[in-house]
Symmetry: C3
Subunit: 465 residues, 3 copies
């Protein structure tokens, strides 16, 4: 049976000289606490601290990174329990066997890397998954999940996570966050993130009912703005540091007040056109920036995704099931209205993410290389892998320097992969800095200082922690 | 005189440790038979087995990769015999001298690499081409071309090509393919490929006459669909495994039946507008996918080329003379109608090629990383070179894994370059896998297994051989 | 205090074997004279040979590469004296201290690299700038600037610049260039470059008055064309070798004569629409190519920049203050009219620059790989850094060979950085060629010959020196 033994030098550059330099750098940050300013962990699992149900519901069902790769290789989503809660044991085991027997489909992907690292570090697994050992691995993980050592809070502490942001609906009462904050046994700061997308997309089916969930008087445009401001304030009072925005494009053209009022009324009446809804959403992105200037929430942007590309899959299994597909994105024109108005506003922070890597050197780095407010968000989603992270490092730092990187963001709902993801980032940062030292573009003391910044001070400064 | 001695380690990574690993991997596939599921060899040269006329008609005149580089460096196309058949000996020699005396123009290009490899391996040439040795090289090659050892079938066998697909007009009678299949002396399977582009572009000059060549009753839209289906069936009966489509964009929006009928009528009458013709062609791409679901032909897409960018050259020398220029291409939106309908159809295979490398990580890999039907086609045409192949390897495998690569496609009409092209791919695959092992992301046994898959099983599975 | 000691092997590949090869190559071109066919040095500083005023006015105020990075890191532009002439000493020192105390912001950027090289080579500085040594460095540089050894002409000679092109307004009388040409003490050829942008953008505020500065009879379209032709001739008589064009896009669609006449009249009357102005500018780009075919000026194109992205900064500090931001650019369609007409015109040279690196492999290299007139301009502005230069080298040479590279262009107004910029290019070229030799794709004699070509013969041939 093949071994699973993550190598201590994994992901460091292959050249022996550069590798030994990279190893030296990496050692200085390897054990530092994790700062996770953007992600999708459900705070209720931490509040309730209920044991994870089984290996499949922890590692397979909710993780579209995993299920889409298996689906692409011919495994039906229903066999993996996608879109369902914890499965009966026979189905959970069957799904787990599908993962293990298709292990080769993960070769070369970061998913494989994260699995290797977390299987080894968290569950002490020492053999490579396969059809043969699938049941043994299932048993071994299931057994540990039942122990106090592997309950959510124990892992949170063991992972060394000092700050963890979740992603939350503006109407959420944040009771889970409050419970965690008020519990002295929880050493991690668990902060909510304000994610208002669906309230700003006024052409969505059901929006007129949805908007009422914001509370306040949303019968008028002015009341709607107030309601949003109030919810932001509530989030801030409960620890939020940022507001996250993920629309189709990055448009920020503001409307004249009268037009906004008019479109808002049509939206309430259910007669808004798609073009009006788009114009209103762009206007509201501008307004969100204005509110960020007022209330201090860091603004993060995640545009450029065609959601639910395969409608039949969405209808049967729900959203976030692996067929959100990137499209080309544009920032220079789209952000001009926002940056013209707020780009040099003292204390405003705007973090730009992309799944279209062509904009790193063409648009994001030049913008971050002038506007004090703009930061280049770490590679996200499809780009959160060694090849694209290396592209990003080179493309952005050559144009904007290290000071305008956001620091690493794990953006994950796969709780057990958090340490492996941050560790991957630290290794790649160490490798990149080592290559600059090896080419005599940076001194080693500078590389060391830069690496610590990237891991600790930069995310703290960018996200105002 | 400078030597021409292709190094056994050529194209393997420079780092000594990674190189020795790559060499070990490469050795396991070096001698494996060649599977060539997409290319442009003329089957008649294999059927007739007539000796190649001379070095110039074999290596220069028909190969736009070569002639465009010389033209870009100031050599007129007429001096190279572009667009002509075999030249009288004085002109053939003069063209050959132009190639040799401009040898420096090929530095750094894959064309140079393919020449080096095939000159050495096929013709035993040991000195670098130059003005000085041009005539000697011509003589040496010409002399061998006259020998039985260098006739087309002898080379086909010597090259170790087990499967060779050609590219053919739907109206072709495929007699050459049948003759080859019926000849027990031919050890290679030579299969036709259904390439219906010009029959689907109803606004082309001469289309109303052209469409009659399909046979059947093409006076109605329904008859036209039947005729296409019949020709596909005929191709399948004669060994075809795929249908290839190379339009300007990747659009697949279907039309309502009535609109298709109406546009088809206008096309027959010669009154179709360009916008209607484009809409109809996109509709027909959708229909071709439907037929592929029915009859099993693998569907390959090659969009994104502006054909005949320099009309004066096209008018004088014909098409395929080096000035087809890529444009930005888009897949996420364009393919949605097709994938919504057929993306999870069992057994449907859709291979996406591009000459716009920005779509590998942004669109192709995410699509291939969800849809079981979608494969990422190997770098094609302008991108068939080490730099872009390495980008592709990294970009696609990090997102979709190795299982969704198409395997190598040579796409060439340069018969003698086939082994060199496949060998280049094997070397680059070995180097890439070695780098993953060197960074401890893959074990060596997995790398070896993956390499064999890429060379043998993957193209066989993707193209249903 | 940390040392500043540029390493002799800086920027060469890290692998020891490749590095020693690269070093050997680099040594053959290290000391060769500098050919600078495109840049922004003010010829008056060379004519007048007045000592540079102080370190801040030399290194900080006019260099938007530097000031934008400090601004992005939170330093106000006014504190750096942007848009002002030489500052009183206290402000100049204060600005200099800001540079030194924010030295970490430059890590990883080419600006840092150029500073290191020129501080060491030109001013003998041996310690890394910091808040602590800022005043000492200021004094040390200021003291040398007052010496004859560091006056502009002395540096020009010491830098080994054999040819230096400036960038000039068509209405310029070129008296500075004439004075330099007529002075036997000046060993460098200082040539003007014809840069007509604002005269071709007929919708600009103030254009009707501006156009009169061209001289001649510009009351009619025909007279305007003649005036431009006359100014081009005047530039050529005064040594110009090229005409440079930097519009928003690369459009070259010609107008019918009658339309050009009509739009020209509207422009004079101040009633031209933006759409007409754009159409006219594209038409004039076509006309400029026609004139280049007639008079031999090399045509260079620099499209794809959104100028003055932050209007408030432009209003206060002027243009070229760090917020010109790239946009996606397109060449295949845009250049077709021009290339259809002039692409194979004997002696016509068209050099394509870009700040959108996606077009190197997709459009520029394929165009340069067919049209004899087209050359791929060296990475420019935001792309003038090691990462993007390496991308360019790989992307362009694999498709178009080395013969269609423009050779290095420094494009700078930072006089003291010129040697460091050219040295960086030579190191990167040596490293790239060494990697090709190490992978056995090129013999060492060919690499050596290619490197000399890139440094000397290529820019001379492309720019007709």
């Amino acid at each position: 049976m093949a071994a699973l033994t993550p190598h201590p030098d994994r992901l460091l550059p292959a050249d022996p000289g550069v590798r030994s330099l990279a190893r030296r750098l990496y050692e200085t940050v390897r054990e530092l606490p994790i700062v996770s300013p953007h992600g999708h962990v459900d705070p209720k699992i931490l509040r309730d601290d209920t044991p994870f149900a089984d290996p499949t519901s922890l590692f397979v069902q909710p993780d579209h990174y995993v299920t889409r790769l298996l689906h692409a290789g011919g495994v039906p989503l229903e066999a993996l329990g996608v879109g369902e809660g914890p499965l009966p044991e026979d189905r959970a085991r069957a799904a787990w066997r599908l993962l293990c027997s298709h292990w080769h489909l993960l070769r070369g992907t970061p998913v494989r890397y994260w699995f290797d690292s977390s299987f080894a570090a968290v569950f002490g697994i020492t053999s490579r998954p396969s059809a043969e050992n699938a049941d043994a691995l299932y048993d071994r993980i299931a057994e540990q999940l039942a122990q106090p050592s592997h309950r959510p809070r124990a892992l949170l502490s063991r992972f060394g996570i000092s700050f963890l942001a979740t992603t939350d609906d503006p109407a959420d009462d944040l009771s889970a966050h409050r419970a965690l904050r008020d519990d002295p046994a929880v050493g991690t700061v668990v902060a909510p993130t304000f994610r208002p997308d669906r309230y700003l997309e006024v052409g969505r089916p059901g929006w007129p009912a949805l908007v009422k969930e914001l509370g306040g008087d949303t019968d008028s445009y002015a009341g709607y703005l107030s309601a949003l401001q109030d919810r932001r304030r509530y989030f801030i009072e409960n620890g939020a540091v940022s507001a996250d925005h993920g629309h189709f494009d990055a448009g920020t053209e503001p409307l004249a007040e009268a037009d906004a009022v008019r479109i808002y009324r049509s939206a309430l009446a259910g007669t808004v056109t798609p073009a009006e809804a788009t114009a209103f959403r762009r206007h509201m992105t501008f307004e969100m920036a204005r509110m960020s200037c007022d209330d201090g929430l860091v603004m993060t942007l995640h545009p450029g995704i065609w959601r639910n590309h395969h409608p039949a899959t969405a209808a049967r299994f729900g959203p976030d099931t692996g067929h959100d597909i990137p499209v080309a994105v544009e920032y220079t024109r789209a952000l001009r209205p926002l940056l013209e108005r707020f780009g040099t506003h003292l204390g405003f922070h705007l973090v730009l993410f992309t799944v279209d890597p062509t904009v790193y050197s063409r648009e994001i780095a030049p913008l971050a290389g002038f506007y004090p407010s703009v930061y280049a968000g770490a590679p996200w989603w499809f780009l959160d892998n060694p090849a694209e992270i290396r592209n990003y490092q080179r493309a952005v730092t050559e144009i904007a320097g290290f000071g305008k990187l956001s620091g690493f963001i794990d953006d994950t709902r796969a709780f057990c992969s958090i340490p492996a993801r941050h560790d991957m980032s630290r290794r790649l940062d160490a490798g990149f800095l080592a290559s600059l030292v090896a080419e005599h573009r940076l001194d080693e003391d500078e590389a060391m200082d830069t690496l610590t910044s990237l891991v600790v001070s930069q995310p703290r400064a960018v996200f105002k922690l």
